[in-house]
């Protein structure tokens, strides 16, 4: 039983990290869009 807990816990952690990869990728893309918008509006008088 305790073996199952450790194995599932480990698998869950790595699954979480894979989700973290996707989250960072989304954050990066969102940052690009926001950055591009800011760059466009920055020089508007």
């Amino acid at each position: 039983m305790i073996d199952l807990a450790y194995v599932l816990g480990t698998a869950a952690f790595f699954a979480l990290m894979l989700a973290y990869v996707r989250a960072c990728d989304s954050l990066g893309r969102a940052g690009t869009t926001a950055g591009a918008a800011a760059a466009t509006s920055e020089h508007v008088p």
């Binding site: 450790y6 480990t10 952690f13 894979l18 960072c24 690009t32």
Partner: protein, 571 residues
């Protein structure tokens, strides 16, 4: 302090400097693919694993490959440790490793931490040591180097987020760097007297007539990659204080040099790969300044000794017949200087091998190794991990410098925008949160306090050091903390996983962000990333971030202990 002691530190420093360029040039050739002497070995490995070595991976695919490789190999190690009593190469008929220890050990070796809550010689079969722990010693080090190279490629490439091929980096780092260096060091260690065999334990009668069991095993090979790969997990419980692991002053010196060998060279390789060797040397100089400050402080604190001993008339002066200073927990073969230097080197890097007990150092002597780890082990650091950790600080330095002059910060032609800083901050915050939250919880709950063997500020230092060491993937122990319990095996194992992978993911995201950009030409407003100004600013940022984050906790631990020791209190 003695002239001999300072000479050891200076000669060591000179050797670290001397190897940086030749090995750095070699590393560049390994990772740019121009070195091909072992292609006949590489190709079958790629074919067997179904890897296309020509594929240039997007950072998300690179990170996914790294996570899957680490996760699967960790679970395999867990399985082998749990069934080692049914497997061959177990002449001592050792039982299965308990589940909690198997989890912690699998996490420990997968993450390059090598924290050990067991005595290796009486817990692990030769098969477990040689196929699992030694495998991770190579693989985890190669993963660290691969991730660092991914980040450097992010700086040099304009490739829509593509940063190389994880599998190729993993294989080439192992084949061309770690295996040959380990082979040479293992042969040297055997020549010096380290043991290397598969024999069962030897039972002997001592001169006093008592019986003693001498553990045997493949020690030299394990020892070599333990140092070269900044792993740190010893074959024996006493680690590098054991004469079978570290038999002579020469092996002690070369062991320390082996720890800094690749990390020092990788910084030079950074300069070569980005086409600005002055930048590489500037980062190297920042690391060296921090190393020298740490080594000097620990040597001074340990040579000064315990003030309570001096107050009670114990002779702590260095004479021809006495090493002087604080010799508690130190090997008489190595003395104060070599023990202080070893402690600083092993915690500057994420190695964790020890030739003295850090718990027995003076309060300030113990503070420095702990702070080294908390700063992110960016002083040369672990293989790969030191370079990428320092590059995060470089990004923050450039960002802060940009804020000061009011321009969009640039680093080697790549703009440091909001998302690059977000990834850098996720990296810094994840490490700090793991250390401080796990430590805070442990001083509040009964199972956490039950592991303590010392009261007061020293007890806090033991817990703080443990979670700093595991989150920083260092692996050295302050000792004095009973870590072999369900609570500590599980929480320490979890902090290792967080400290490794929750940092690597935003780091690779940072690499991807940088790789998506086209480099802009340098202008008059670009902050120079070479020279003394940059080096000084980088050192300042490392210290300020570390001080702001950890000073409150350190003040309650080693700093308070230092002042109370001066007032005559012991813990």
């Amino acid at each position: 302090m003695t002239a001999n002691g300072w000479l050891q530190i200076l000669v060591f420093s000179a050797c670290v400097l001397a190897v940086a360029k030749p090995l750095g040039v070699y590393l560049v050739r390994v990772y740019d693919g121009s070195l091909g002497g072992l292609r006949a070995v590489e190709r079958p490995i790629y074919r067997l694993c179904g890897v296309d070595p020509a594929e240039d991976q997007h950072w998300t695919r690179y990170a996914t490959s790294m996570l899957l490789f680490s996760g699967v190999s960790m679970l395999l190690t867990y399985l082998v440790l749990r069934v080692q009593h049914h497997l061959p190469l177990n002449p001592g008929h050792l039982a299965a490793v308990p589940a909690r220890q198997a989890f912690e050990t699998a996490a420990s070796f997968t993450t390059n931490t090598d924290w050990q809550s067991y005595a290796g010689e009486s817990t692990m079969s030769y098969l477990a040591q040689a196929t699992q722990l030694a495998f991770h010693n190579f693989a985890s080090a190669a993963v660290g180097m691969a991730v660092a190279m991914g980040l450097v490629r992010g700086l040099t490439h304009r490739s829509h987020g593509r940063i190389g091929n994880f599998w190729v980096d993993l294989v080439r780092g192992t084949l061309y760097v770690l295996l040959p260096l380990s082979l040479v060091l293992a042969l040297f260690l055997v020549q010096q007297g380290a043991i290397q065999n598969l024999a069962p334990d030897v039972h002997v009668t001592t001169l006093e007539g008592a019986s003693q069991t001498l553990a045997m095993g493949p020690v030299a090979s394990q020892e070599a990659i333990k140092q070269i790969g900044t792993n740190g997990g010893g074959f024996f419980n006493a680690n590098a204080a054991h004469p079978f692991e570290n038999p002579t002053p020469w092996t002690n010196f070369w062991s320390m040099l082996a720890i800094f060998l690749i990390p020092s060279a990788m910084v030079y390789a950074l300069g070569r790969m980005v086409g600005d060797t002055r930048h590489g040397w500037s980062v190297w100089a920042a690391m060296f300044a921090l190393f020298l400050a740490g080594a000097s402080t620990v040597y001074w604190a340990e040579a000064r000794g315990n003030p309570i001993h001096a107050a009670r008339g114990v002779d702590v002066a260095t004479t021809d017949t006495s090493p002087g200073g604080n010799m508690e927990g130190k090997e008489v073969r190595f003395g104060v200087a070599a023990s202080a230097l070893y402690a600083v080197v092993t915690t500057d890097a994420s190695c964790g091998a020890v030739n003295a007990m850090h718990d027995s150092f003076t309060a300030l002597g113990g503070l420095v190794p702990m702070l080294n780890i908390q700063l992110g082990e960016v002083v040369f650091g672990g293989v790969g991990a030191g370079l990428y950790g320092m590059l995060v600080f470089v990004v923050l330095t450039v960002f802060i410098a940009g804020l000061m002059v009011g321009r969009t910060p640039e680093y080697l032609g790549k703009k440091i925008r909001a998302r690059e800083v977000q990834m850098a901050m996720l990296y810094v915050l994840a490490a700090a949160a793991s250390i401080l939250v796990f430590s805070a919880v442990s001083v509040l709950v009964r199972p956490g306090l039950a592991g303590l063997n010392n009261a007061g500020p020293h007890g806090l230092s033991e817990i703080l050091y443990a979670f700093s060491s595991t989150t920083g993937n260092n692996g050295s122990a302050f000792a004095g903390l009973t870590g072999s319990t369900y609570y500590y095996n599980t929480t320490l194992g979890a902090s290792m996983l967080v400290g490794r992978f929750a940092l690597m993911v935003p780091l690779l995201a940072l690499a991807g962000c940088l790789a998506e950009q086209r480099a802009v030409p340098e202008s008059a407003g670009t902050f120079p990333v070479s020279g003394p100004l940059f080096t000084g600013l980088l050192v300042g940022v490392v210290l300020i971030v570390g001080a702001l984050t950890f000073f409150p906790a350190l003040a309650l631990g080693p700093v308070v202990e230092h002042f109370l020791t001066g007032a005559g209190a012991l813990f």
